[in-house]
Structures are given as C-alpha cells and as structure tokens.
C-alpha cells in the first residue's frame, strides 16, 4: 500500500473536505460575517443605551469611569454605571456643575485589575478628564490607588475593602460605610454584638470565610479577635476556596461541631451554596450568618426564596421609615425604572445609592470650592460634612473611611416564594420580611430565634 495515499497528514486532512467546499465556504463566510456584524452592532447598541450627550452650553466637565461592565464584577459594575448616569442626568437638568454641563466618559474594565489601572491612567493622561472615579470593589479599585497618588488627584472609591490601609492617601475617600477601623467593620462585628445580647448568651461559634480579601481578613482580623474579646469559643473555623462547588462537606462539619451560632464571610455563589447545604442537612444554629456578601442582591435573594427565613445578615440600607434619607426615594424610583431593561439589580438597595452618593460628594465639593483643583477638592472633602442620599450628615475620617460606621442587620422572615415582591421594601411601612434588627437606631423589629 502506498504510504502516502493512506494515513498521511495530507490525506487525513483531505478526508474532512467535501466536494462543494467553495460554495459552502462562501456561505459560511457570509453567515459568519452576518453573525459578527450582529454581535458588534448589538454590543454597540447596548453600550449606546448608556452613553448620552451632555446638554447645556460651555465646555463640559468630564468625569471618567473605568468600570467592570463585563466579567465577574459586571452585575455590580453595570449598576454603578447606571447610578452614575442618573446623577449626570440630574446635575445636567439642574444646569450642570459650575454652570457647565457634565459628561461621563466610561470604559469597560472587564473585571480585570491590570486593565482597570491602564484605563485610570488613560483617563488622566489621554482623555484628560477632570475627575476620575475608582472602579467598584477592592479587586479593581485598590490597584488603581497608586495612579491617583501619582496624579495627586482625589480618589473617590466605591466599596474598596480597607483600600487606603496601606497607602494612607490624603485625598482618598470611600463610600462603603464600614467605619474608620479597618478589620473591625460593621458587617463583621454586627452579628457578634447581636449574639452578645441574646438570652442565654451563646458560648460557641463556627467561623466560615471565603479565601479572598474579605473572607480571610474578616475571619482572622475581625471575627477571631472579637470572639476572644467577647468570650465566644470557636469550635469550627474554615477558610474555603472561592470556586468551591459543593458545600455539603463544610455544612456537615459545622453540624458535627454544633455551635450556638455561625458567622460566615462569603461572596454570592458560596453564600447560596452554604445556605442550601445547611437547609438540606436540616441544620440551623441559633443565629446565622452575618457577613454574607450576596444576600443584598435581589437576584440572589430570589434564588433562595424561603430558604432565607431566619437568617440574619448585614446590609447597608433598605427602604424603611427609619432610613428615609433625603433624596433616596427619588433616586430609587429613577433607578428602578431604568434597571429592569438593563439587566442589573432591579431593586438596587445595596450598591447604587452609594454610587450616587459618591457623585453627590463630588458635586457638593466642586460647587462649594468653585474649582476642579484636586488639592482644594481633596482638602474640602476631608474637612466637611455632606448631605447624601445614604446619610444626610456624612463625614470622612482621616483615612478616608466614614467617620462613623453605618450598617444594619436584617432578618429575613415570612418569605413565601422567590417573587421579587417578597424583597421589595417601602419607606412608609417597615417590611415584615426583611426586618432591621440591629442597630437600635434603625431597628424596625426584634431578632426572633
């Protein structure tokens, strides 16, 4: 048998070909081109929904936002963009800033920290915008801080976890209301403060944390010292990898340790996994979980439905008569009207109000100083009080964190289904499904074991 005719590479390759190759190739090229055009066109249209020309006369004040519009942080990033865009519309409808229209220049940082850093640099040096905003979350935001320092610019951060701890940058300010002492954030210590008030006082605790900046440090630098101080005995502690798929083994271990209460510092997917696993085992401690990032998002709440009943977790804000800050209701109405069509959190209680408040601080600082000079703006922000939709008397500490922490613990109760109405709260009447149980300043009900 001719060696070349059977089994050779050219022969094998030719076996994959058919006789109508040219016409089909043309057909496929056209089809491929059409699909590519549709995707590119669709993407352009999608993004064009966000980009609106700034009205009004004069040279616009340009604000740069490198935000994660794709990738792991895109759900939050999109809602930040929407909230910021609402502020731009609001301020332009009032005549702009310093009499000039405001224009938002934004890019997709793709949840990629190195790209985020490049985009911040680009916004400063190529686009030469007047103010640059930090991208949402520690992963994206913290690596950008040196660029802000290099440009001696104000660094408006949004939910960076203890972002300025290492830099101590003078013009940094953070909207996450965790307070000025980094490891002892409200969302860590809240559950322990509530536990301390229970009768009889719980003695044992299990600590669970996802192996990232939040989970790891919340456990080792927050929960563990608090347990030592308050006399809670840690009977189980686990730091698990972020991509853990099944939480039954961990839930089994907690059940075997049988603590009085459980503190968990999670991210969204592991929060869902843990809650389902606990439910499936039929295990429930007296008080759980406190520090789950994810239970604030409407979509995550809807995915769990009645499984949330009894759980106590941190939040920063929900509509209630005790948290009716000036302007918040109007903002949420505008946000919710637009959110549904854009595929972002439809209720927007968690992050969007703080993204909007960030812009209110910049607005008030610019109007008060009458300048876009960053040194003047930075000094003003450090030393003045701001009226925002998340706190009408917001002041910053020396390290740029909120001078006074502001967090709430909510207990989920009476949830019957996964319908969005179960998680919709009102400013007129306290919710009986998401009850604020801590702190007393904002509480709308007592914790029920």
């Amino acid at each position: 048998m001719d060696k070349k005719s059977v089994g050779s590479k050219s022969e094998e390759s030719s076996l994959m070909k058919d006789k109508k190759g040219i016409s089909r190739r043309q057909y496929l090229a056209i089809a491929g081109g059409a699909i590519a055009a549709a995707v590119i066109g669709g993407t352009a249209y999608y993004l064009s929904q966000w980009r609106k020309p700034a009205p009004g006369p004069g040279k616009p004040i340009r604000i740069g936002l490198p935000e994660s519009l794709s990738g792991a942080l895109s759900a939050a990033g999109m809602s930040v963009l929407l909230a910021t865009q609402i502020w731009v519309d609001d301020v332009n409808s009032k005549g702009g800033l310093l009499g000039r229209p405001v224009e938002l220049v934004f890019y997709d940082a793709q949840s990629n920290p190195s790209l985020g850093v490049s985009l911040v640099e680009k916004l400063f040096t190529v686009d030469k915008v007047d103010i640059v905003l930090e991208p949402y979350a520690s992963l994206m935001g913290i690596p950008c801080i040196p660029v802000f320092i290099e440009h001696n610019a104000i660094c408006p951060a949004l939910f960076n976890l203890w972002g300025n701890e290492k830099f101590q940058y003078k013009y940094y300010f953070e909207l996450m209301p965790d307070g000025p002492i980094p490891p002892l954030t409200g969302k860590t210590k809240g559950l322990f403060e509530l536990a301390e008030d229970l009768e009889p006082k719980p003695e044992t605790v299990a600590l669970l944390g996802v192996a990232n900046e939040w989970g790891q440090r919340s456990i080792t630098e927050g929960a563990e010292p608090i347990c030592q101080e308050k006399g809670f005995n840690i009977v189980y502690k686990e730091i698990y990898p972020p991509d853990t798929t099944d939480f039954l083994p961990i839930a089994n271990s907690v059940k075997a340790a049988n603590p009085d209460f459980v503190y968990a510092a999670t991210y969204p997917t592991d929060a869902v996994g843990l809650i389902k696993a606990f439910h499936e085992l039929g295990y429930r401690s007296r008080l759980q979980f406190g520090g789950m990032v994810g239970l604030q998002y409407t979509s995550i709440q809807m995915s769990l439905g009645p499984l949330l009943n009894g759980i106590v977790n941190y939040h920063y804000f929900i509509p209630s008569p005790t948290m009716r800050f000036p302007g918040i209701e109007e903002f949420l109405n505008k946000y919710q009207a637009k959110a549904a069509g854009l595929g972002v959190d439809p209720l927007g209680y968690y992050l969007p109000p703080f993204a909007y408040a960030r812009m209110q601080i910049i607005e008030q600082a610019v109007e008060a100083t009458g300048t876009l000079d960053h040194a003047e703006l930075g000094e003003y922000i450090k030393t003045h009080e701001f009226e925002t939709i998340v706190n009408p008397k917001l002041r910053f500490a020396e390290n740029g964190e909120w001078e006074k922490e502001q967090y709430i613990l909510i207990q989920f109760r009476n949830i019957q289904s996964s319908d969005i109405s179960e998680f919709t709260c009102s400013f007129d009447k306290p919710s009986n499904k998401m009850v604020i149980v801590w702190p007393p300043e904002f509480a709308t009900g007592e914790f029920v074991e």
Binding site: L15, L28, S70, T244, T245, D246, T269, A277, S299, S418
Partner: protein
C-alpha cells in the same frame, strides 16, 4: 464521626456525578474528535440560561428544559463542527494555536451574547423540591446533588451503549484512531464528527440545566469550570468515557473528604496534585482510550 464520614463520602460521590455530567461532552470533543473545546463550559452555561429562560417565560422545570435543550444544542453542535471543519480543519490548523484562538473567540462571543441578552445580574431558578433532602439512616442525601447524579448515571449508560455498541459509536472511535482506515470501512469522518460534536454540546446543555439548580449563574461563571473539566478529562485519560466517570468521582471524593478532614482550602490543591502525580506516573491518564 461515622455519620460525618458517611455523609462526606456520599457528598463526594454526588459531586463527582455532577462533574461527570459537565465533563463527558468535553471527553468526546477533546479525546475522540481532537477538538480542545475550551468553550465547553460556556455551552454548559448557555444550557443554564436556556433552562432559566424556559423557567421564567413558561414555568418549565429545569430538568424538562434540559431534555428540551438536547436536540437544540445537538443541532448547534452539528452546525458549529461544520464551521470548525471549514475554517480550521480543512486548513490544517486543528492542532495549532489558531484552533484554540477560534474556540476562545467562540467562548467570548457566547459570553458577550449572554451579557447582552440577560444582563450582568445573577440568574437562578427556585424549585422547592430541589432544596429537599432524603434521609436514609444516618445519610442525608440532597436532591439538588442526587438528581444530577442520577441523570449523569443515565447519560453514562447511554454513552456506554452509544460508543461501544453502535455503528456510529464505533465509527467515532475508529476515526479517532485512524481516519483513513475508518473511511475504508464505510465511515464518513465529517458526518461522524459532526454528530459527535453535536452530542458533546447536547450533554453540556443538559449539564447546564442542572447547574442553574445548584448555583446562580451570570454570563462569566463558566470560567470557574474550565480548569476542572479539563482536569477530569486528562486525569481520566483522553477519550476514555469510563476514565472520565472515574476521574470525576475521584475528584469529587477528594474535594469532599479533604474539605472535612483537612480543610476546604486544601481541596483543589490536593485534587490537582493527584492530577500531576497521575500524569507523571501515567502520562496517558488513568485509562487509555
């Protein structure tokens, strides 16, 4: 302690069942028709969104959606293989970087498409029966993991029959070994591979419909599974469906047992250490094709 050990072993086996379901299709594509389909977990994700759409629009249970997705994704797979064949194989690029770039581009296109259609928010379905457990003595068996395990077992049996007893299945394996000889036996490599890739994507979509019952998804949640499914296929032995099943169960068991007795942070480390060790001792994986 005995209860903890037994429940841990059961949890590991059930987790392995889910890994099997999302890896079998890749085993066919990667091991039998030589397509290192890096976009395989993205099709799993697309299957999840398909189930989500039917659930929210028509109230259809994700398991039913999984069944409905099979013919749809099969057709998509057949079409995609044809495109791959024309653009990559006919030009002799199937073993080079271009093939990988093509598949990675496909991955990005699907992710961006999902982002445009569904937005960036988390999506999930809530099915009350899936958060129940069955108690058998000391064992607590969650339906959320047990149902995927049962479906994976059915798919295993079907694939075993298909790839070892049918003319088509034997053809897939024959072409993987020697296309020229297979052609002499009456097989059309192009058609056989088109069908095999269709089956690969159909099983991915079925896995996706169960993924959304296990955890919420967003347009980029496929990335978390890329390493794991390739690890399963490589550990099991390229193209060995039996090996894929065994490797899935091993990785599931290791993850669960290590999480309980050593700490969850050690799970992935030990899983991949086992993979490396296996490749060192048996480069072809646990089982040969």
């Amino acid at each position: 302690l005995i209860e903890l050990i037994l429940n841990t072993i059961v949890a590991g086996i059930l987790l392995g069942g889910f890994y099997t379901l999302i890896s079998l299709g890749l085993s066919i594509a990667f091991g039998l028709i030589n397509i290192s389909n890096i976009a395989h977990p993205t099709f799993v994700l697309a299957g999840g969104y398909f189930a989500y759409t039917l659930y929210t629009a028509l109230g259809i249970d994700p398991i039913i959606s999984g069944v409905i997705s099979i013919p749809l994704f099969f057709i998509i797979g057949v079409f995609l293989y044809r495109v791959y064949n024309v653009l990559i194989e006919k030009r002799g690029h199937e073993k080079g970087l271009i093939s990988l770039v093509f598949l990675f581009s496909l991955l990005i296109l699907i992710e961006v498409g999902l982002l445009m259609i569904f937005g960036a928010d988390w999506r999930s379905v809530y099915t009350p029966y899936m958060v129940q457990s069955v108690k058998v003595g000391m064992l607590s068996i969650p339906l959320r993991m047990f149902i995927p395990f049962v479906i994976a077992s059915i798919v295993d049996i079907f694939f075993y029959y298909l790839f070892s007893k049918t003319f088509f299945g034997l053809g897939v394996r024959a072409i993987a070994q020697n296309p020229s000889a297979a052609m002499l036996m009456g097989y059309n490599p192009l058609k056989i591979n088109m069908l095999a890739f269709g089956i690969s994507l159909a099983s991915a979509a079925l896995g996706g419909s169960l993924l959304i019952m296990i955890q919420p998804i967003y347009p980029f949640s496929d990335r978390a599974f890329i390493g794991r499914v390739f690890a399963v296929v490589v550990l099991g032995g390229m193209g060995s469906l039996y090996g894929t099943i065994v490797a899935s169960i091993i990785l599931g068991l290791v993850e669960a047992v290590v999480a309980v007795f050593l700490g969850a942070s050690w799970s992935m480390l030990i899983s991949f250490a086992i993979l490396l060790l296996t490749l060192l001792l048996k480069p072809e994986g646990l089982f040969r094709r």
